[in-house]
């Protein structure tokens, strides 16, 4: 085993990861806030007005990064699922349970902002746009994962079943996306996009990237925070957790 993999496997133990996560998450959260403020300010005030959609288009600075994040988090979950099913590590399952609610939240945010955007553009709260429909299905995949892991009492079985589900879902996501796009173009549905000639203004892209970075760091911070609670719950029969939970000053 190389020294590098030794380090990786050391942090695969819940106790070590607990400490690492505790030290990291405040910094990540702070960075997320910085980028978020910067991104929002750029998007709201600095980026130019779209010549077709006016001010309303600015919602894409939340909508697009949220969509990206909902997909990236699902990929991350699939990655941890593969790790967990191959190496049988406890941490992978906990990581997925920590990530899933945030992924679902971003999917919901994407749908909601998509609707808010669609209304001034098309006059309807929901148009069966290919990307929005795929996002809706992704949202259901998240809910399915959360439902399954919540219904199984035994933690090891819950982790493994959730991991398998995440993997099956991940393999199907491209197929689902492709079929929804086919369905949409076949029926000439509406499309929610920003048209700015052939390219987007530099500042718009910049604002979206900043927001995406901010959302990504937020997801990491909150996953680290959440996983600490999960670790305490799962390992509550061990000595180190009992020591951790004992109130300060008690012997």
């Amino acid at each position: 085993m190389t020294p590098h993999s030794n380090v990786l496997f050391r942090f695969a133990a819940p106790q070590a990861f607990y400490g690492l996560a505790g030290r990291l998450w405040p910094w990540v959260a702070a960075l997320a806030t910085v980028f978020g403020v910067w991104g929002l300010w750029t998007g709201m005030f600095v980026a130019p007005i779209d010549f077709q959609q006016g001010q309303a288009y600015r919602i894409i600075f939340v909508h697009v990064p949220a969509s990206w994040m909902s997909m990236i988090i699902y990929l991350a979950m699939a990655f941890w699922a593969v790790l967990g099913l191959t190496f049988n590590t406890r941490l992978s399952g906990m990581m997925n349970r920590a990530l899933a609610p945030t992924g679902a939240m971003f999917a919901f945010l994407s749908l909601w902002t998509g609707a808010l955007w669609g209304k001034p553009m098309w006059g309807a709260w929901w148009v069966w746009d290919a990307r929005l429909t795929s996002e809706l299905i992704l949202f259901f995949l998240y809910l399915g994962f959360m439902g399954l892991t919540a219904s199984i009492d035994d933690p090891r079985r819950s982790d493994k079943a959730g991991g398998l589900l995440a993997l099956v879902g991940a393999i199907n996501v491209p197929i689902i996306y492709f079929s929804v796009r086919w369905w949409n173009t076949l029926h000439q549905g509406a499309s929610v996009t920003v048209t700015q000639g052939s390219s987007m203004a530099q500042t718009m892209l910049w604002a979206m990237l900043l927001m995406a970075l901010s959302f990504w760091l937020y997801a990491i911070a909150i996953a680290l925070y959440r996983i600490r609670t999960l670790i305490l719950e799962r390992e509550k029969h061990t000595q180190w957790v009992n020591a951790e939970l004992r109130p300060e000053g008690a012997s």
């Binding site: 049988n88 009492d153 035994d154 933690p155 090891r156 799962r234 509550k236 029969h237």
Partner: protein, 206 residues
């Protein structure tokens, strides 16, 4: 030929047992005893391969039992439930059981197996109309209709009356004499037919 080494078992967050080790050679029988809830069923399920093992080794003829098709060919596991379909008869159940295990079985052999366990005349009735004891005897008949050297039995004689227990004892004895192995648990007294020289006890502590 079956070797268990330093085995431990966790269910959820509880640790049931640890450091369990024993060997089972041809012609011997291991009686697993212990209080309720100590983990006897979990141990039997780990040895048969249904429950995964994270600490310890279980091997058959020197090779680990995980993904070991050769091991599964040699194994019959009978747990608390009967592993029979209610709507099918004992005859049909046993034939399908053998087929799923990849073994061919002669209908006459099935009939004689059921007869030796006292089920003559009931071979073609759906399982659901049989009594508890009759159902269990039908389930045990698969020990005679299938070829396997290792029998793992979780409370095989529960709900059986004394004559039926004796019949099961004779079946186990014949199996041991042919060089087979038995690993079982039971709350009832052991079937007397088995010579005490071939039985070892292992007490499972929490």
């Amino acid at each position: 030929m079956l070797s268990v080494n330093d085995l431990s078992c966790h269910r959820g967050e509880r640790r049931l047992f640890s450091g369990v080790g024993f060997q089972l050679k041809a012609g011997t029988c291991l009686y697993l005893e212990g209080d309720n809830g100590v983990g006897k069923t979990s141990l039997l399920r780990q040895v048969s391969g249904l429950l995964p093992v994270s600490v310890g080794q279980i091997s058959w003829c020197g090779k680990p039992i995980a993904d070991n098709e050769f091991f599964r060919k040699q194994l019959i596991y009978l747990g608390h439930n009967l592993a029979m379909k209610d709507d099918l008869s004992a005859m049909e159940n046993l034939q399908i059981d053998a087929a799923i295990a990849g073994q061919a079985v002669d209908p006459d052999k099935v009939l004689s197996a059921l007869k030796s366990l006292g089920l003559k005349g009931r071979e073609h009735l759906p399982i659901r109309v049989l009594s508890q004891g009759q159902k269990r005897r039908a389930a045990l008949a698969r020990l005679l209709t299938r070829q396997a050297s290792l029998w793992i039995l979780d409370e095989p004689v529960v709900a059986l009356d004394v004559p039926a227990q004796a019949a099961v004892g004779r079946v186990l004895k014949a199996h041991l004499e042919k060089g087979g192995m038995v690993l079982f648990t039971s709350h009832q007294p052991l079937p007397m037919a088995i010579p005490s020289a071939s039985i070892t006890s292992y007490r499972l502590q929490g």
